[in-house]
């Protein structure tokens, strides 16, 4: 598929901190239109924090995020609302409102941003449920669905407004391999069919090889991006031990215990 190199989201010199703890510093990258960008890295390296800052839910310690030239990081409420009309987010556990049925959940963004008549909204909901293979589950409550189904319902809700950019936090966390593969297919299909730009945080190597156009790797010690490229490129890279151990699924060498056998 052809993708042009136009940047939809620009991240410039972003830093995040929790107290003394520097999560990352000076992170800059672009998200190009129509691409599937995967952010990887060990736990605690700030992937989710980065995502939350890009979404505008959290303020960075320093730096900016731009969406099509508009700054998000210090935007007013109305600008942010305009931004939210253009993006969809799938949270870690789906974040469906538990007091509402799946139908009502998907209805929410449509209610907030459009003034369509009830039967049109109904049609859209049915279409979105069909896209994630959840047709017929309109009136179920989130608690009545399995984890994977909840995630798919979350995707349906995130896609309700046909967003330009979709964000996924921990895409396949806590899913069985079969469901995870189904989700990957869904993402590839959606990206190809609708040209939706996607930013995905995940750990699953198989998913990465399957869906990613480009991978960014964050590292806790380096407090920033240590590698960038297609999954194939990163797999071939052997100069950096951290990248190598992630993509070849090796444990980084544990520092050898010193002194105890020194005399043997």
């Amino acid at each position: 598929m052809k993708r042009n190199r136009k940047a939809v989201i620009e991240v410039r010199n972003l830093s995040a901190r929790f107290g003394d703890n520097i999560v990352f510093e000076g992170v800059s990258f672009d998200v190009h239109q129509g691409e599937v960008l995967v952010i990887v890295g060990e736990s605690g390296c700030g992937k989710s924090t980065l995502l939350r800052i890009m979404i505008g839910l959290q303020k960075p310690y320093a730096g900016q995020v731009f969406y099509e030239g508009t700054e998000i990081t210090s935007a007013s409420e109305s600008v942010l609302n305009e931004y939210y009309r253009n993006i969809g987010v799938l949270f870690q556990a789906g974040a469906l409102l538990s007091s509402m049925t799946i139908r009502e959940n998907i209805e929410l963004p449509l209610q907030a941003h459009t003034d369509l008549e009830a039967d049109k909204i109904n049609q859209i909901i049915k279409m979105k449920l069909g896209m994630v293979s959840l047709e017929g589950y309109d009136n179920h409550y989130p608690a009545e669905l399995s984890g994977g189904m909840r995630k798919r319902a979350g995707i349906a809700r995130a896609m309700a407004l046909d967003p330009r950019v979709l964000f996924f936090d921990e895409l396949s966390a806590g899913l069985d391999p079969v469901t995870a593969v189904e989700l990957d297919d869904l993402i590839t299909k959606t990206n190809e069919a609708l040209g939706t730009t996607m930013v995905i945080v995940t750990h699953e190597l198989e998913s990465i090889y399957k869906i990613a156009h480009r991978v960014l790797m964050l590292d806790k010690q380096a407090a920033g991006i240590i590698a960038e490229g297609t999954p194939a490129e990163l797999k071939e890279r052997t100069d950096d031990q951290r990248v190598k151990s992630f993509f070849l699924r090796q444990s980084p060498a544990i520092p050898a215990h010193q002194g105890i056998y020194g005399d043997k």
Binding site: G19, N21, I87, F91, A93, H257, Q258, G259, I260
Partner: protein, 389 residues
């Protein structure tokens, strides 16, 4: 070694010492584990401090079992001895034991914990932090009140944005479901008050004033106060827990992304429902109280039903009933706003939900009492002005 023998204290080890010049040889034998940790470390320490050697060598050749805690103890021996310039060495470590030793990363032992947000400081610093927390709390609440008022203003201008289903749900939850307990407590309070008043008043033959005392106290003070406290316990806590759990599950973030103002979406129906329902509950509590008093009045005070009711009504005016309802509405607004605000203050985890739910009830009750005092003063002046005109 892995079989469960049920033996609690198995020494299972021996440490025999042998000296060669200034070098102390410690021959270890048997099992060294968490169970006998203090026993063998005690023995070794005692020996070393009794006659400080120039060097210590631990011989592991006869060790049959070693766990990580015991291995750590030996690592610590080496570290403390080396710090005192005493050479320390472990010899004849089996392959299994080497594995145990290899999981102990010495640099991790010395690593000081990173300071998370707002660490504990000295006494003065803690006082400062506590004051800041109180100030921030107050600032938060005032900001939140502002948020709620703008959200209400928006809802007034766009009535269709109010989710009617939610409103009715909370009217039922806070109001209808609360009727039995509010009624029961009101009834019992009237009953007790009438009985206590009767015990005192009968000494002066002033039984006829019991009904007026009960109705006066119920309508003017106890009805609104008690109802508000019950609602704080029943609904204020529920609001805090509900919103707090939604924050933890990222549902509030999701709402934000979907283009809803979380305050407008979550707090407005709750606050509105509570403000509608509590004045009605208060009237219900007042009536229950009077009925409670009436039970005593009719059964023990030789008052007829008719005279009891007449006396009750005589003691209160329409003004009293109306101010009682206004008071109840203000209490309701405070209770529900505090509940929602505490819910939004939750950051992460189940513990936070519990903490802020408790805080919602405590703060709400405190605010009810403060607001009630303000009302008492205000109404005093209103009435005085009234009597002049």
């Amino acid at each position: 070694m892995t079989s469960l023998t049920g033996k609690q204290d198995r020494p299972g080890f021996t440490v025999s010492f042998r000296e060669e010049g200034t070098t102390l040889f410690a021959q270890l034998a048997g099992e060294f584990s968490l169970q006998n940790l203090s026993a063998f470390t005690g023995q070794i320490k005692e020996r070393i401090s009794a006659a400080p050697p120039g060097a210590v060598i631990f011989d592991f050749s006869r060790v049959t079992y070693l766990d990580s805690a015991a291995a750590l103890a030996f690592v610590n021996f080496r570290r403390t001895l080396s710090a005192g310039n005493v050479h320390c060495q472990e010899i004849n470590i089996s392959e299994d034991a080497k594995g145990i030793f290899s999981v102990i990363r010495e640099e991790a032992l010395d690593r000081t914990a990173l300071a998370p947000d707002g660490g504990q400081g000295g006494f003065i610093q803690q006082i400062g932090q506590a004051s800041l927390t109180i100030a921030r709390d107050f600032f938060h609440f005032v900001t939140f009140l502002g948020d709620i008022i703008t959200a209400f203003a928006y809802t007034l201008r766009h009535p269709t944005s109010l989710r009617g289903k939610d409103l009715l749900f909370y009217v039922k939850r806070a109001g209808v479901d609360g009727l039995p307990i509010v009624g029961l407590i009101g009834l019992l309070m009237g009953l007790i008050m009438a009985f206590m008043a009767y015990l005192q008043f009968k000494q002066f033959g002033a039984n006829i004033y019991v009904p007026s005392l009960v109705s006066f106290a119920m309508v003017k003070e106890l009805g609104p106060l008690m109802t508000a406290i019950l609602v704080a316990g029943r609904s204020g806590s529920a609001y805090a827990a509900e919103i707090g759990t939604m924050v933890v599950n990222e549902e509030v973030d999701a709402l934000r992304i979907m283009g809803f103002d979380p305050v407008r979406f979550l707090a407005v129906p709750k606050v509105l429902a509570t403000v509608i329902v509590v004045p009605i509950l208060t009237v219900y509590a007042d009536v229950s109280g009077v009925i409670g008093g009436m039970i005593i009045g009719v059964t023990s005070l030789d008052l007829s039903l008719n005279s009891y009711v007449t006396q009750s009504i005589k003691a209160i005016s329409v003004f009293d009933v109306v101010t009682s309802m206004i008071k109840a509405a203000v209490f309701a607004g405070l209770v529900s706003a505090v509940g929602c605000q505490r819910g939004f203050m939750v950051r992460a985890g189940a513990q936070d939900v519990g903490k802020f739910t408790t805080s919602a009830v405590v703060t709400a009750i405190f605010m009810i009492v403060v607001a009630d005092s303000i009302f008492a003063i205000m109404l005093y002046y209103v009435r005085r002005y009234d009597s002049f005109s």
